[in-house]
Symmetry: C2
Subunit: 502 residues, 2 copies
């Protein structure tokens, strides 16, 4: 860790050197600047040698402008936007329309996926692994793409997702940009990029698309549905939508419904992105992508992914270059770390995918009231759509069983219900999972999906009658890595998962 810090620090210094930005000579201003107190009304805003103090320099803005210029200079044939691929993967094309929860539709769609291990003859050893917000299907290296995946150490022979035993499938979510249909894909209706004509998505929509893939692979039932973060939402949602097709569920650092603080944190990310003029209301695909907004959004996200105590240990109050005077641009080591995280991400992921997938997370709510509302809306949209020529036959009927709604307290107008008033709404919503062995894993230092949300899942499942709930909470003595613990802690996250699946 300290070695990578040293590298980071060196990179920062090199950046300053490369840019050749004049750094304010703040340490010896007296020799260069003199007071003149009687001059007034000089042209405001212009630089003058006679100011009391020198103007600050802004290497972070210089770097931003340089990046914009570089992107503007790219060939218009290839388009200035980066291509969002994470390497070689499999792809399933579904030519049947996918009706979405909020009334939109995908007339057809692709779903990118990768697999590890071997499907047994009875097709009973399948683990569907769900990803976090910005991840691709590349959870582990493959023959055709040897690059390490985002859960490289968690998958493999003898690993928690043991490829000697299981056939592991990981997909890129619809709405994403790593091979599955998303806002950067072309709308088959008119050949144009969807951009913000892409329909609003839900976590359940993503799961329905995944089960289309399972249909195609003729896999009736999953051994387990596993995921962390947004994937922890999906792994639960899969069980709720297809209770007969899911054997067991592992949900790590996830929740049963998003709470307002995490909505607020995602809101600020979406807002900074949407306020980047280059975002252009989503229509940037032939132009400069909103790299500044993406960088800022990722910096905010990075703050929510880690924890204060970790940074206290790792960065403390160290400045990137203590020999320089303080600056408004990144200065403390923690700032250069965030800057680096944002910079690394800003062209690696599609901005519109970030907006739609982030919004889907906000909308996530497995409570009965929300399920009822969605079911009614889907039914309405379905009958609207079935009136239309050429489309009625390709409609997907909702797969989810809504029987559990009879156990919901009578909801004359579900929209008006106070969703936070009591977890009874969640108990009713998760009733269908009252027999599924479920592992619920939480991390005390997580501020984005705080540990009370995982306790809520466990409590709700138990209240629904489920006697096979394993709830594990990693204390701050075990992990200070906050939300990101699921990516880093092979021993405790991986260990719990392995024991649960065994």
């Amino acid at each position: 860790m300290s070695r990578s810090l040293i590298r980071l620090r060196a990179t920062i210094r090199d950046t300053f050197r490369t840019l050749e930005v004049p750094i304010s000579p703040r340490f010896t201003p007296a020799k260069k600047y003199t007071y003149r107190t009687n001059v007034t009304n000089a042209a405001a805003g212009s630089q003058t040698l006679n100011s009391t103090n020198p103007a600050l320099s802004f290497p972070c803005l210089d770097a931003r402008e340089e990046k914009t210029a570089t992107l503007r200079g790219r060939s218009l044939d290839t388009g200035p936007e980066p291509s969002y691929t994470s390497g070689d993967h499999l792809k399933h094309h579904s030519s049947e329309a996918l009706l979405l929860d909020w009334g939109g539709a995908l007339a057809q769609f692709d779903i990118a996926y990768e697999t590890w291990g071997r499907l047994n003859e009875s097709k009973s050893n399948v683990i569907l692994l769900h990803t976090g917000l910005s991840a691709s299907s590349h959870a582990h290296s493959t023959e055709s793409n040897p690059k390490p995946g985002w859960w490289e150490k968690f998958i493999g022979p003898g690993a928690p997702l043991d490829t000697e035993k299981y056939f592991v499938i990981c997909t890129n979510v619809i709405g994403g940009c790593y091979g599955s249909t998303g806002p950067s894909s072309r709308d088959p209706a008119n050949g144009e990029v969807y951009a913000t004509r892409f329909p609003i998505l839900t976590i359940q929509d993503m799961v329905r698309a995944q089960f289309r893939l399972l249909d195609h692979l003729k896999i009736d039932k999953l051994f387990a549905s596993v995921g962390a973060s947004m994937g922890g939402m999906q792994s639960l949602a899969a069980g709720v939508l297809f209770p007969e097709r899911v054997g067991r569920i592992a949900t790590i650092s996830g929740c049963a419904r998003s709470h307002p603080y995490s909505i607020a944190l995602r809101h600020t990310q979406r807002q900074v992105l949407m306020m980047d003029a280059n975002w252009n209301r989503g229509f940037y695909y032939n132009s400069i992508p909103p790299h500044t907004g993406m960088k800022l959004a990722r910096e905010i996200a990075t703050v929510t992914y880690r924890s204060g105590p970790e940074w206290e240990q790792r960065f403390g109050r160290r400045r990137a270059d203590p020999s320089k005077p303080p600056a408004l641009c990144p200065d403390f080591l923690i700032e250069t770390y965030l800057d680096h995280a944002g910079e690394k991400f800003c062209l690696e992921y599609d901005a519109n995918s970030l907006l739609y997938v982030s919004k889907a997370m906000d909308l996530f709510d497995l409570g009965a009231a929300n399920q009822t509302r969605t079911a009614n809306l889907r039914q309405e949209n379905e009958s609207n759509r079935s009136d239309r020529q050429g489309i009625s036959c390709s409609l997907t009927l909702p797969d989810e069983p809504y029987e559990e709604q009879q156990e919901v307290p009578s909801l004359s107008n579900p929209i008006d219900i106070k969703e936070t008033s009591t977890p009874q709404d969640l108990v009713a919503g998760l009733q269908v999972l009252n027999k599924h062995p479920t592992l619920v894993l939480g991390v005390a230092s997580d501020s984005l999906f705080p540990a009370w949300q995982q306790r809520e899942i466990a409590d709700v499942l138990r209240a629904a009658g489920n006697r096979s709930v394993t709830h594990v909470e990693l204390g701050e003595d075990v992990s200070l890595f906050g939300h990101d613990t699921f990516l880093l802690d092979l021993e405790h996250i991986g260990g719990s998962l392995k024991r649960f699946l065994a």
Copy 2:
């Protein structure tokens, strides 16, 4: 509370109505849109009726553009920027230069202040009240400015800061924009607005300016130095800089040094502001102010000022208008709340003030190593400056006693010290306060200045030998208002303060 929510919701609805933004008819798209799967290569980015789904609308961007247009339309005589005044206040002009910790200087400066109660004959009943980041000197209404102040209920006859007993002084910090010299002031050296030619400030610089005011008022010694948030930093710093001139100290939701997580949170705010093109590297005073960046910064700040559990109770998952389809613009009630908070603030405070004062908070560190470094730097700058004509006589000699440095472990190169390694550095730094009665107040639900930081202050003072430390921590059963508790909780914050001062 629910009444204000209803009002907020009504305001949002009115806003939507006023803007007359076409809202996507997401609930009945089937009647308006048809699939056409064979059209390709239509002009990308253009709107077409034939897309599978309608384009989303963006009322938040419409509102932003409207605001920019309004600001552009303002008379150039008065300047498009707002005037940052909080009403009538007193002002002290110091014509002596103020040498700053990081080598800059203010050749002269104003400090705005207000007072309540009466100064007694022995001038022994003075309480200096320090503000948070963005507050003015208007802590309480006055005859000449009857508008309620930011601590209206905490000051007055019989109130915690009892004006029957105490003479309360509150100043606007230098660097601010409410009457004290800051980046929006004119540099006497050339008559131009400082903008980002304003020098880097520290909390201690602000305190030194305050003590200039006390000198002017011929107040030798404070009965108490009191403050919350950034004011909690200042109230401690006042004691460290002028131990003989401060009687007792109350520091509420403050810290002895900033930690990396709070630096990170402020970093993201500064970054979104600086990336607003209208910020223009600080030179926006004759142009459109960076209202978008300010709004975004305030939204992020607002997230850090409150707590998840409060929002869970207050907003839950309620949407601003459940009859509308989900939107990428503010949608959930928590989002409209943040949007409103940002909107309200974006023209009320100077953007450069936010940057400089926020940076001063990051730089705050009362550890001995940092004090030594600063002392050396000040000495160096002082001798540089004393070489110069016409300025040597107006220099301010550092007032702080550096005797405690002898108790610091030998620091051959203080810049290289690991500042986080041990609180011994803080124990040495706060040694000078080993006799001052001190109240340290913290709030368990505070994520910006977490409760461990106040425990740290208390522990460090006790380790330094102080036997008059009162440490109070308000649990989540008492307050869920997070960092903002100090503004809201008259009973517990005010009550503890009253008992301490009595």
